[in-house]
Symmetry: C2
């Protein structure tokens, strides 16, 4: 097999950790696989470099920032390759450019445009373990670019796609994806397999293991992703095509997001363009609106509710007060979003009814509801968030 | 004018120092000059990275080591460029590759083979201040290379040569070249102008400001070098062609090297090839032999004396004892080398006689003498080293 392994910042957090990564890479190689390793900067390094840059400028020149930030991953890749060579394994460290990762020129959040896979392949054909500095590429003007948040994951997935690798393992400090947060519900179980779409829902609900960009790319390039823990030998969670998952559970997991605030406008004049005006104003101010619910009100007016991240509530208040769209504006930061995710919902009826009944049985009032094909999200009073999660986790028998 | 400025590790030692460098660069730009800045890694960074590499291997893979070490200068160049841009000056940071510095593939001590000066020129033509990461280049295989000790100076001189710059300023933490070490002789004066050849002699005598490789390259490329102190506004020392120095002093300076050990072999059989055998054996063991003196002895034998750096004496002893070249082998680590340097010697007689008389007047015995066209070196008892320097400094009126 050809396996791409990506190790994040805590997995290469210090020199001992890099040694430990070297052992794991060698173990994979010894099992007969070809290995490409993608590494992040040692944890703390990127933040240190950013703080250096911010010493000189609140808004550092992005091209130079990329030259600066790319050095962290180069250091890790060189060190890991030195360690592998010392242990008797022919290895080569490659910068983003040397690995043939071409991006557009949107510095600090560049998009990968093309991977010249011949560069890595040549080294693999010579039996080498290829270590690639993650998070970076280069532009057609030969400038160094970086890919933004979660960039090393993107590097790994893109390389796995370009090489048609059998597996792309993403190593972090957690075992994988859980049916819910184990700190809330002790019976939470690690999920063995999950579909790309479910993972996308989990990621947008705040699961920190993988970011949406990487999962989307894996889906597009048909890359089998596995998230694993570099601190133990446990099997991780495989993220793959829906068709690969033979026995789908109806619901895969339950997620809780307490970083939500609810805004309610009552008595909005019900004429075309009002909602557009509100939400385009919020968008130009970079407010991330999550759920939006509109209900018919009285006398030709309508009630509009939506949620934003709690830390954007103050800014939202300010913008809304200027709009004068309604005389009746309510804000509530004490809300939580509870979501259930599962591809099985598509083919099973009654999933939503079970959720609503479960919360009713616990006397939890549902303030807002929003559904997608594979997700049901409910806004409840923040103090009932954990209780709602435990009740739903049990209702869908996720701990069994 | 087009000015290349190079700032060493202490000159960019922390963020405050980098700000101070930015001010100096801007001052030069505001005086109407085009400026190319070459920077070293922040002091301590390169050693830190080397220690990381040595954690994994006593003999790290040199190609990977170069990828690792080159990151230090990239960080400094990016930070300085961010600072300049923030202060309103259009600036661009370039890696060795982006600056068009091609080297051979002798990793960790690569030689510059070619500079594609169009790359820097294009940016200069757009009015930019160009900041280049020193110490690094790239090979025809597109690997990152580093230039070894004093590498950033080399980068600066090579760039100045390729761009036909009017001046190449090397900033360190000392004012320039002195007639002798001011800690030994208080009347020591900074030299305003000195020829390449004299500077080469001073450098080989241990003057730390510039290394021979850089001076040799400056001489070859006809680059006017100035060493200056980045911590003050003092004028430095100009190192230039002999013909540019109108009024040459006969002697430019006096140097002391206490890191010397003397080896004497008496009664060496005087037949061809004996000296060759000894010195090729020492050379293959990387012993840096400095002075070599051979005198006729008695009965067809010869006396051979030479000096090596004190820290290589033990190794030298070991090698010499195996050679069995002589039954009479003496070692003396308590010696010092006192040297006078000056291009004026070429055209003035009596310079050596003055030196010998001066030491005789102080009752200092001269144990070995070695001369070149512009240098006279004398080995004396180590305890008289400083006295000899002061006496010679006064004899040639260097403090006046």
């Amino acid at each position: 097999m050809l396996i791409v392994q990506k190790y994040g910042g805590t997995s290469v957090g210090d020199l001992e950790r890099i040694s430990s990564v070297a052992s794991r890479v060698i173990k994979t190689k010894e099992e007969g696989h070809d290995v490409v390793v993608v590494v992040s900067a040692m944890s703390g390094e990127t933040n240190k470099l950013i703080s250096y840059a911010e010493h000189f400028s609140k808004n550092p020149n992005k091209r130079e920032l990329d030259l600066l930030l790319s050095s962290g991953e180069r250091v890790t890749s060189a060190l890991l390759s030195i360690a592998l060579n010392e242990l008797g394994y022919n290895s080569i460290a490659l910068s983003g450019r040397q690995a043939g990762i071409y991006t557009n020129d949107t510095h600090t959040s560049a998009r990968i445009e093309k991977i010249d896979s011949s560069k890595i392949k040549n080294h693999l054909n010579q039996g080498k373990i290829v270590v690639v500095a993650g998070f970076q590429g280069f532009t057609k003007d030969e400038n160094v670019s970086t890919l933004g948040r979660g960039g090393s994951d993107l590097s790994a997935v893109a390389i796995a796609g370009a090489l048609k690798a059998d597996l792309c393992e993403i190593y972090t400090d957690v075992d994988g994806i859980y049916t819910t947060d184990p700190r809330i519900e002790k019976s939470a179980k690690k999920i063995d397999k999950i579909s790309y779409d479910e993972m996308l829902e989990f990621a947008s609900l705040g699961a920190k293991v993988l970011q949406n960009r990487s999962v989307e790319m894996a889906k597009k390039l048909n890359v089998n992703l596995v998230t694993r823990n570099s601190f133990n030998e446990n099997e991780g969670t495989l993220i793959t095509k829906e068709s690969e998952i033979v026995e789908e559970p109806i619901v895969s997991g339950v997620a809780l997001d307490k970083n939500q605030a609810r805004i309610t406008l009552r008595g909005v004049v019900d004429k075309p363009g009002i909602a557009a005006e509100i939400f385009s104003k919020l968008a130009t101010n970079n407010i991330n609106v999550d759920m939006i619910i509109q209900n018919v009100g009285q006398d030709g007016t309508t009630n509009l509710g939506f949620t934003v991240p709690e830390n954007e509530l103050e800014k939202t208040k300010e913008i809304m007060s200027k709009l004068n769209a309604s005389s009746d504006l309510e804000f509530d930061r004490a809300v939580a979003k509870v979501s259930i995710v599962g591809v099985g919902m598509k083919s099973h009826s009654g999933v939503a009814a079970t959720a609503f009944n479960t919360l009713a049985d616990e006397n939890i009032n549902i303030e807002m509801i929003s559904t997608s094909e594979i997700k049901i999200s409910m806004i409840v009073d923040e103090k009932y968030g954990e209780l709602a999660v435990r009740a739903l986790h049990s209702a869908y028998k996720l701990g069994e």
